[in-house]
Amino acid sequence: MSVSFCGLQLAHPVINASGTFDLLAANTAFGESLRERFPFAAFVSKTITLEPRKGNPPPRLWEAPAGLLNSIGLPNKGLQGYLANDLPAISELLGKVRAQPPVPLITNVMGSTAAEIAQLLNACEQREEISAVELNVSCPNVKTGLDIGADPVQLEVVVREVRPHLSKPLIVKLTPNTADVAACALAAQEGGADAISLINTLRAMAPGGGSPKPWLGGGTGGLSGPAIRPVALAQVAAAARRVSIPVVGMGGVQSAKHAQDLLDVGATLVAVGTESFRDPSAGSRIAHELSGAAETPANATPDHPGASTLLNLK
């Protein structure tokens, strides 16, 4: 089951989606059992920004049909707070995880200009605790208001400009809120990304219950969970067809079957997000199920396409 990803050796192909697992909080809640049974082959931090962010006012959650809408607002201590406090603590904790090979740290960053992103990458470059960087491009350009990652032309320019600031692997986390995600995937590759990851949450809104004011404190939010799984499969497939760099696929993964579906369309790794909220050990369960599936010979005769269509609508 071990897998190579951008030069990193991982025990299995299951990692966490950024912002869905707080390592330090999990250590407080679960203690030794977290280190004994760590759920992921690599750990992706929540998004770090240059300046500290409080996050959005509550309410921040709304349960959607077969999913979850969140408007968290990327709360974090800012780059300096991360480097001084969280990074050493996360690194120490990952060092104590019983896993072979060790669990590498991928730090997720977001900036609203190329200059901001360059500053974040420079800092990550200098810290040996960080094995790779994931760049969140679901951030509005301060001038145009358009998400950096929503426009392939803009995305390629930004990635190309920041790329020289990092010699470590650079993963670009694409936004699904765009007209042509495959074009954005290609733009990230052309700009110099070593890998892409997708999908981020889909922009969505919770009703205000009779009021024109939306329920979520942040107005709109991001939809995740099983509700977005077919969208994720379509976007991961489209992106993987267009690029030659590795793809991290995610969106509504709850089981090895869902993970395998993403691997089948070209993903190298699969990330688990909302399912970890339901069960913090979902990552290890899915990895375990995947390894079982790999050892079992596939059914001799795959389902007839017509038959499976019928079964799906039964």
Partner: protein
């Protein structure tokens, strides 16, 4: 079960250490438990789960519950994420949870019968800390929020070295006052006057505080009740521990969804650094931070 049932000395995630031993850690991963029974209690249900080898929770800690079957497909194709419940009682190898059918998650849980199965993640969060030897504990509960006060009374109420407890419970009507039987010797207030004091439970609190020289207040209930409790205790310099409630998806600090604003302007994750919080840390109790009324 690999979970430890030793109380863990714990600093909060922001580095302060105000409540040693108010947290028992959960094993990572949810565990599948069997329903030992479902008891009717007026407008409420008591869900009893057989959990003989689970960690013994501290009073005020909670668990995330998911029915093993048919979790989803209810109203609005929900529920999806688990639901948070304070542990109401821990005895004879069973964990008790107080339910009120107020939404698709609680509705599904209320349907469970003996032998059904439930996924449980817990115990989670920071619980209540014990009263000092010379303090008399006043428990203030409203509606389904009385749940953590029962295990609190079980744990701290009968110690020979404390001053005992007094329980003050508020409900909207007579059908809900059946919940009061979870606690011993409770004084009851109802909104409609059908049982006990006709008015607010905080009226009883003021009366009790007038007669108690050294009090500590433990409260859980709807946000307006918690806010009134905070204001009353704050004005009298009486220490108060409030068990907050907030919509949460994970219960272990991962989603950042359950935050409430603190006096210092920062946000606190109710699931991780609560649900029990020193009332003095709040400017006011957020309207979203209470149990269903």
């Amino acid at each position: 079960m690999s979970g430890s049932d030793r109380p863990v000395l714990d600093g909060s995630s922001d580095g302060t250490s105000q409540c040693a031993s108010a947290r028992v850690q959960a094993p990572i991963g949810r565990r599948l438990l069997t329903v030992a029974g479902m008891d009717e209690l007026g407008a409420y249900r008591v869900l009893r789960l057989s959990d003989p080898s689970g960690p013994r929770p501290q009073p005020g800690q909670f668990s995330m519950l998911t029915a093993a079957e048919r979790w989803g497909g209810g109203e609005d194709d929900r529920p999806h994420v688990p639901r948070a419940f304070s542990v109401a009682r821990w005895q004879d190898g069973e964990a008790h949870y107080l339910l009120e059918d107020v939404g698709p998650g609680t509705h599904r849980l209320c349907e469970l019968r003996g032998g059904d199965e439930v996924w449980v993640l817990g115990p989670l969060g920071r619980g209540f800390t014990a009263p000092a030897e010379d303090q008399r504990a006043i428990l203030v509960g409203g509606g389904v929020g009385i749940a953590p006060l029962a295990i609190l009374q079980d744990t701290f109420g009968d110690h020979a070295d404390t001053q005992g407890t007094v329980a003050l419970l508020g409900f909207r009507d007579g059908a809900h006052t059946r919940g009061a039987s979870l606690l011993r010797g409770a004084q009851v207030a109802t909104d409609d006057g059908s049982v006990g004091h006709h008015g607010l439970v905080t009226d009883l609190l003021v009366r009790e505080l007038d007669e108690t020289p050294r009090a500590i207040v433990y409260a859980c209930g709807p946000a307006p009740m918690l806010e009134a409790t905070r204001a009353i205790c704050g004005a009298r310099d009486v220490p108060a521990q409030l068990a907050l409630e907030s919509g949460m998806a994970c219960g272990f600090g991962a989603c950042f969804g359950c935050v409430v604003p603190l006096r210092d302007g920062s946000y606190l994750r109710v699931c991780l650094d609560g649900p029990v919080i020193d009332a003095a840390r709040l400017e006011r109790v957020d309207a979203h931070a209470g149990a269903p009324a």
